[in-house]
């Protein structure tokens, strides 16, 4: 991929539309299985329509445009339309049946107000409500129905403004639970640098076909499963995340039909696919075209990859196609990547020394008291990774510390949040908050500095869930804790909440009602299903010496008090 001649992300897309108008850009698979092919020139024409429509509502270059659209071609076109115009695009996760519509709309309003967005693009059914809600906020609401249809497949002959590479192209919101306070601002140059260098790491070629079901509001879906293929001119086969969750074989069918070669998946997807796809339903498929399934965005577990391999090996999944990557929105996407064409390296280390002394001492394969750490590969070209101790001093190989990075594809900053930017970028290094070690140039992730929970690839902040509990009738304010626990069968974390109940001698029925109320409130606000909720008497929760409720101590107490005593399934839970 040669992208160095471009200064903006739109140039390669427009060039391709002119030079190879019939080139395949996207195959969009609808939920009923029908496929819609979008050619390069057509994509350009559709994106241009959105740019013109936004322009006519008064949107200027540099303005923020928020997309409140479901996973659809419309979303793809609108995103690029905003960028064509020189505006800053940002995708907001779409309303689902589980979320409370009123709370959802309030969140849109909050984001518009905080980030001073100038336009929202949404579907006609939301226009009236959002217009009323955003009245006076200085933000136009554009309905997709108001965007003029293209008269034919010819692209409008509008000259888009040339702008410098350091201009912000879009925001990626780190997917929080209850809001989107942190918008990672990425410049055209950073994103181009990421695509250029990451393409080298994965040896991206014109013959590749990228297949994805990932949502576009998350970095893995947005970059690997949308922006990169379009900019690099590699065909993208895209389907809905909701369809995939309910029927994951659609991904394998798409790979078979389209001769897919690359696919990015979070760790839980390997387990989910292996668990719920019936072998007989996919027996006739051939997945041998796949160069790499790249495990990314959650901690990578070798056992998840192995269940996937043993289930789908018979239809062409090869061990050397099981690759890994460490990525984050703050570096546009990839930070490290395993060389494709070979399986990720396993590093067997002494578990106790890793946990207690933060040293990754290599031991013999599968020896007692050892853990197999899965490598996330080498830093991509142009990205430097180091491990820092708590005094921000670099640590040697095999010592665990905070992962910091420096690159030419880093964020410009958190949008309109200079305070957060200054906190995480120090002396040119971005501090990731993830813990890990380097060995022979490869990066291994061991945990997280902050109490972040990752469920199904989504980042969950426990404090957001605790805040919901604080406002739930019957729960003592400030007396709740949320934490994650790895579940081997899911290949991901489960969320557990423990809350102290208000008052004494509360009946079981009343407790149940409080539990159900809390569960429902959490789902409606965050779409998070709590795996376990325990309502306990006052003084159950353990506090730290500084008087704060300790997530880790209460997690240990939960495992001991509830899991080990109560169920024979406790061995399915693993303390990380």
């Amino acid at each position: 991929m040669e992208l160095t001649r471009y200064t903006t992300l739109t140039q390669p897309i427009i060039c391709r539309a002119l030079e190879d108008p019939e080139g395949l850009a996207i195959v969009f698979i609808h939920d009923d299985g029908t496929e819609e092919k979008i050619q390069a020139a057509q994509f350009h024409a559709e994106a241009s329509r959105y740019a013109l429509a936004l322009q006519s509502t008064g949107v200027q270059p540099e303005d923020l445009v928020i997309l409140v659209l479901r996973h659809s071609q419309t979303l793809l076109f609108a995103f690029w339309g905003a960028i064509y115009l020189g505006a800053i695009a940002s995708i907001f996760p779409f309303l689902t049946e589980k979320l409370d519509a009123q709370i959802y709309m309030e969140r849109v309003k909050e984001l518009v107000t905080h980030s001073k967005a100038r336009a929202v693009i949404t579907f006609p059914e939301f226009k009236a409500e959002l217009s009323a809600l955003l009245a006076g906020a200085g933000c136009a609401v554009l309905s997709t129905a108001d965007v003029p249809q293209a008269p034919d497949k010819e692209a409008p002959t509008v000259e888009w403004p040339a702008y410098p590479g350091d201009k912000i192209a879009f925001l990626q919101h780190s997917s929080g639970t209850t809001g989107l306070q942190k918008g990672v601002a990425l410049s055209h140059r950073s994103v181009l640098n990421q695509i250029q260098t990451y393409s080298q790491s994965i040896d991206l070629r014109g013959e590749d076909v990228i297949v994805s079901w990932l949502p576009l509001y998350h970095d893995m879906g947005l970059i690997a499963g949308f922006v990169m293929p379009l900019v690099a001119g590699v065909p993208l086969v895209l389907m809905s995340p909701f369809k995939w969750v309910r029927d994951p074989k659609v991904l394998l069918q798409a790979i078979h039909r389209q001769r897919g070669t690359l696919c990015w998946l979070p760790n839980f997807a390997y387990n989910h696919s292996a668990r719920v796809i019936r072998s007989q339903d996919v027996a006739a498929l051939d997945l041998s075209s796949m160069r790499a399934f790249i495990n990314c965005s959650e901690p990578v577990y070798d056992e998840s990859q192995q269940v996937f391999l043993s289930k789908f090996g018979a239809i062409g999944v090869r061990n050397e196609a099981l690759s890994t990557c460490y990525a984050m929105a703050e570096n546009t996407f990839a930070v490290t990547q395993c060389p494709t064409g070979q399986p990720a390296r396993l590093d067997w280390v002494n578990t106790r020394l890793l946990q207690e002394e933060r040293r990754a001492l290599p031991v013999a394969v599968d020896s007692p008291g050892s853990s197999a750490m899965v490598s996330c590969g080498f830093p991509i070209p142009g990205t430097e990774v180091c491990i820092m101790d708590e005094h921000e001093v670099r640590l040697p190989d095999r010592r665990v510390g905070e992962i910091a990075l420096h690159s030419a594809c880093m964020l410009s900053g958190y949008y309109r949040r200079p305070d957060l930017t200054a906190q995480s970028i120090r002396a040119g290094w971005y501090y990731t908050g993830d813990m890990g070690y380097l060995a022979d140039g490869q990066l291994y992730i061991t945990g997280r500095k902050k109490d972040l929970i990752i469920v199904g690839g989504k980042n969950i902040y426990p404090q957001d869930l605790e805040a919901i509990a604080n406002n739930t009738q019957g729960i003592a304010p400030g007396r709740s804790v949320a934490f994650g626990l790895y579940d081997k069968s899911l290949g991901s974390e489960n969320i557990v909440m423990i809350c102290e109940i208000e008052g004494k001698g509360i009946s079981e029925a009343a407790k149940k009602a409080v539990e159900m109320d809390l569960r429902r409130r959490v789902v409606q606000r965050s779409e998070i299903a709590l795996a376990d909720v325990r309502l306990v008497e006052g003084r159950w929760l353990i506090k730290t010496s500084s008087g704060k409720i300790s997530r880790s101590a209460n997690r240990d107490k939960y495992i001991q008090d509830f899991l080990e005593n109560e169920t024979e399934h406790s061995n399915q839970w693993r303390n990380q």
Partner: protein, 82 residues
């Protein structure tokens, strides 16, 4: 109305989904809209229903509009067995 179906489902949900065999799961407790069963376990549940009762629940039906409680799911299965 269908105690066998309901108790089979209840046991499955308590032991395999909630992993709390003694959990007090009522016939009319909301399963999906409350988040007691998440999207992933819902697919597992549909497979279990198919294996156990020979009744297919399409993936497009896996939402709280089709069923949200043990009683509703049992009724749905009963209806499709006939």
């Amino acid at each position: 109305m269908t105690p066998d179906i309901e108790s089979t489902l209840s046991e499955y949900i308590r032991t395999q989904v909630l992993k709390r065999p003694k959990y007090n799961l009522g016939s009319d407790d909301a399963l999906i809209s409350s988040g007691l069963i998440d999207s992933f376990h819902l697919v597992d549940l549909a497979l279990f229903v198919e294996e156990q009762f020979g009744v297919r629940i399409e993936d497009t039906e896996l939402n709280s509009n089709t069923f949200d409680t043990l009683a509703q799911l049992s009724a749905l299965i009963q209806q499709r067995i006939k």
